[in-house]
Symmetry: C2
């Protein structure tokens, strides 16, 4: 399936930890957006890791799942970014 | 169709302008994410307005389009946020 993950993490330490986890499974396409194709099993694993890091009363992680990648189209205005090379 | 819009805008003035435009058409669900159901015509109008504001060499706006809203599922970890009442 194709997933888009967006997040608001209020604490920088947790933010970096969440990014480290997401980076293992998905593509870091914008400052607050990861995306990519992933199996259900790996996504569950990824989200379990994220869930262990975030503060459930303050932070927010959204996971948009599209079963068939053909059903989603991405359009870009401006430049297409990537943060995959960023040091964490 | 259902759309998710994420953005990296490097300048605060442009950022606020972009949010003002997106707010007219979509739901502000996370700091850098708007989403919602919208017609193709309105989306085109919205993106034309955004395009006029952003610096195409620095800023980045991603629009993920899903024709049938049934094909996308949203899952939330932590809290579900909303910025719709924020003053701009």
């Amino acid at each position: 399936m194709y997933v888009i993950v967006t997040y608001d993490i209020t604490d920088d330490k947790r933010l970096n930890k969440v990014r480290k986890v997401l980076k293992k499974y998905l593509y870091w396409s914008q400052l607050s957006t990861f995306e990519g194709e992933i199996s259900k099993a790996l996504l569950a694993k990824c989200m379990a890791e994220v869930n262990n890091i975030i503060d459930l009363s303050e932070d927010s992680v959204y996971v948009y799942e599209v079963e068939n990648p053909k059903n989603i189209k991405k359009k870009v205005l401006g430049i297409e970014k990537s943060y995959m090379d960023n040091f964490l």
